[in-house]
């Protein structure tokens, strides 16, 4: 057994590992939502009438959900920024409020789904609407889990100062969650 002797470099430093992972996962999420958007436009163009007869798009609720998430994005940024400056209480407050607004979004999404007035099998619009809302909800749930994990790290003192990667990662992923709903909103409520 031989080991060649290279000069040692001291301790290995994981550098923004969670953050990079969150950016890559977020990119995947946006690609999936983009694919749904492309599918939506494709099916819409092929349909005789869009949205189908009897479908009433609740623009108000969709916009409220978007505003909720946009605000939560600012809160997430506050939390990550506070963690970087070792302001632990502010970091916890920012991340917790973000998660709370995420739960409010999930609740609102459920309500939106219950008010659709059509099923997933009613028409292509129904399939797309449920796909958009469902994928957004799953992404939001993942974002809330990431925020909760970051809060645990902050509480344990493992996510402040120069080592605030968990809070930064959770906040960055949350921005992608918001972007995902923005795509869904654009498809379902703006393009229609």
């Amino acid at each position: 057994m031989t080991t060649l002797a290279l000069p040692p470099a001291g301790r290995e430093r994981p550098n923004r590992m969670l953050h990079v992972g969150a950016l890559l996962a977020g990119t995947s999420l946006l690609m999936a939502m983009g694919a749904l958007m492309a599918a939506y436009v494709n099916v819409r163009d092929a349909a005789d009438r869009w949205p189908p007869k009897g479908v009433k798009v609740d623009n108000y609720l969709g916009a409220i959900l978007l505003i909720t998430l946009l605000l939560s994005s600012a809160l997430a940024e506050w939390g990550a920024s506070a963690a970087r400056r070792s302001l632990r209480r502010q970091a916890l407050a920012g991340l917790a409020l973000t998660a709370l607004m995420g739960l409010a979004f999930l609740n609102g999404s459920w309500y939106l789904g219950s008010r659709f007035g059509f099923g997933v099998d009613s028409h292509p619009y129904g399939a797309m609407a449920y796909a958009f809302v469902g994928l957004s909800a799953v992404a939001t749930l993942a974002g809330i889990v990431a925020l909760a994990a970051a809060m645990v790290k902050v509480l344990a003192g493992q996510a402040d100062g120069g080592d605030s990667d968990p809070a930064r990662a959770a906040a960055s992923f949350w921005h992608f969650v918001v972007g995902a709903w923005a795509i869904a909103y654009a498809a379902l409520f703006m393009v229609k």
Partner: protein
């Protein structure tokens, strides 16, 4: 002198529990390799049955199951075997090549393996259902939504494929993050070993392309499980094709891309000099990855066939980076002091097959072969056999790091010969059948006109299967050995210039005792002899 593995690596003696709950990237990588080889057997047996049916006019033992067997063969090899083989080899070697002690998210990597294995087993299980009506990655029609048990089979098929897709996405995120954040000091991106570079580029493409398939599968799930009719509505079938194809086209390229990185490493190591045109090779690998995404845009006419004639500009462009790489390999061998190693034979076989595929692609640009057995030949000559040969090259090249022993050289040479010759005969006969007009999905050799060529293709298939069996036996023997071999680190056999060769064979759980500093793309060239 042989050593006990546990004392050589400092790791606990291997046991079943140690494999099941391990988060060590090397063990997870090996699990991926073993599972992929298992799926290779299943896919190979299915392919052998298909060829046996076509060998003689009148053979009908598959009967109505021909289409399902074909789909099983293509899905297992294209989705479950080759990509997982690359994930396994990359998971094991990339941290070693960049001087890291681990991967970025070890638990995520281990989870991805178990998700992939579960999804893969379920996926194969669905083929046992007579009513399965799926398109998968090989046929253009979207999944149907029949009644009864078949609906459950289709739902399970979509779910299982989704599990495999999510697993590959997780593995890609882990590997790309590892390369981006855990490189040894001084290991800049331009100094990355080319296999790691190819893995990084592949991972980025997977992260961009796989979610498109997953979104398509989500809607397909709504179709087959809840009865929505998106993919059978106006424009739906074309939409399914694009959804599958935006993933499928890059996927076809990605089966080869890590192998091109392997070839760069193998050639440089055994030519005993740095790769000639290192920067050009790096750019070529990146260009190949970028072109894989462009290949989706090769035109609507190409959407319906998995391997259409490559006369479209978007797909033909891929030949340019390949040409650059082959020139770099030849130049390196010409300027170096090559020593014969079994891994070089596999690389040579892959180059021969790729050249053969390119020649026939050029012919197909002027001869109409659409919808014929030509596609079968191209699939095997370009998309299946070269990646398999290059994966075998990787297993032989890095066997000391994977298992602490060299794979047997004599068996390796025979394996390389069987795989290359078998693929040449098989795909050559398929190309000729295509020029003669035999339809691609013909479940029956159409009379005497095609019989001899079909026999020849079946003979080639049988040789390939023999090569696969020999490869698996070699790996099983070395993997099952309870000791390591000091000759594995013999500088006369292997003396690469990249960091993995600085670690013991096999490497200990922490890979390196000291994290090294890197000052060039060939860090071990700075080590005094």
């Amino acid at each position: 002198m042989a050593q006990d593995t546990s004392t050589a690596t400092g790791s606990p003696p291997p046991n079943l529990g140690g494999w099941l709950d391990s988060t060590d990237h090397k063990r997870v990588g090996l699990l991926y390799v073993y599972a992929a080889l298992g799926f290779l057997v299943i896919g190979g047996v299915a392919g052998f049955l298909l060829r046996a049916e076509l060998a003689e006019t009148g053979n009908q033992f598959l009967g109505d199951d021909y289409g399902r067997t074909f789909s099983l063969h293509a899905t297992v090899l294209g989705v479950l075997c080759l990509p997982a083989l690359w994930v396994g080899i990359s998971s094991h070697l990339v941290p070693l090549q960049i001087g890291a002690s681990r991967v970025a998210f070890p638990r995520a990597l281990a989870s991805s393996f178990w998700l992939y294995l579960t999804g893969g087993v379920l996926l194969i299980g669905t083929y046992a259902n007579d009513g399965l009506r799926i398109a998968g990655v090989t046929v253009s029609a979207p999944p149907a939504a029949p009644k009864g048990g078949a609906a459950a089979a289709n739902t399970l098929w979509v779910t299982a494929l989704g599990m495999v897709g999510v697993a590959s996405l997780i593995a890609a995120v882990v590997l790309v993050t590892t390369v981006a954040t855990l490189r040894a000091p001084g290991m800049r991106f331009e100094r990355l070993p080319l296999f790691t570079w190819a893995t990084f580029a592949s991972g980025l493409v997977v992260i961009l392309a796989t979610p498109v398939l997953l979104a398509g599968l989500l809607v397909a799930y709504l179709d087959v499980h809840f009865g929505s009719r998106l993919f059978v509505s106006d424009g739906g079938p074309a939409l399914w094709q694009h959804t599958v194809w935006l993933f499928g086209r890059p996927e076809a390229f990605l089966l080869l891309l890590p192998g091109l990185g392997v070839a760069c490493e193998v050639v440089a190591t055994h030519a005993r000099r740095p790769l000639l045109g290192f920067a050009a090779a790096r750019a070529a690998l990146l260009a190949f990855a970028a072109l894989s995404l462009l290949a989706w845009a090769s035109g609507p006419s190409a959407v319906r066939a998995i391997a259409p004639p490559t006369s479209t500009v978007a797909t033909a462009l891929a030949a340019l980076p390949l040409g650059v790489l082959v020139l770099a390999w030849l130049g390196t061998l010409a300027k170096g002091r090559p020593r014969i190693h079994s891994s070089l034979l596999f690389v040579a076989g892959a180059v021969v097959l790729l050249g053969f595929a390119a020649l026939n692609a050029a012919i197909a640009a002027v001869v109409s072969v659409h919808g014929t057995a030509w596609s079968n030949g191209f699939l095997h000559a370009a998309l299946f056999s070269p990646p398999l040969l290059l994966a075998a090259a990787a297993l032989h090249h890095w066997a000391p790091k994977l298992w602490g022993r060299q794979l047997p050289g004599g068996a390796a040479a025979l394996t390389a010969l069987l795989l290359t010759l078998g693929s040449l005969v098989h795909s050559g006969a398929a190309f000729l059948l295509g020029y003669d007009g035999q339809p691609w999905h013909a479940a029956e050799g159409d009379g005497d006109a095609f019989t001899n060529l079909n026999r020849l293709a079946s003979l080639g298939g049988a040789l390939t299967v023999l090569g696969v069996i020999l490869l698996i036996v070699s790996v099983a023997r070395v993997a099952g050995a309870s000791d390591t071999d000091d000759a594995a680190d013999d500088p006369d056999t292997v003396s690469g210039l990249t960091l993995e060769w600085a670690a013991p064979s096999p490497p200990p759980p922490h890979n390196f005792d000291e994290v090294p500093v890197v000052r060039s793309a060939e860090p071990l060239s700075e080590v005094p002899a």
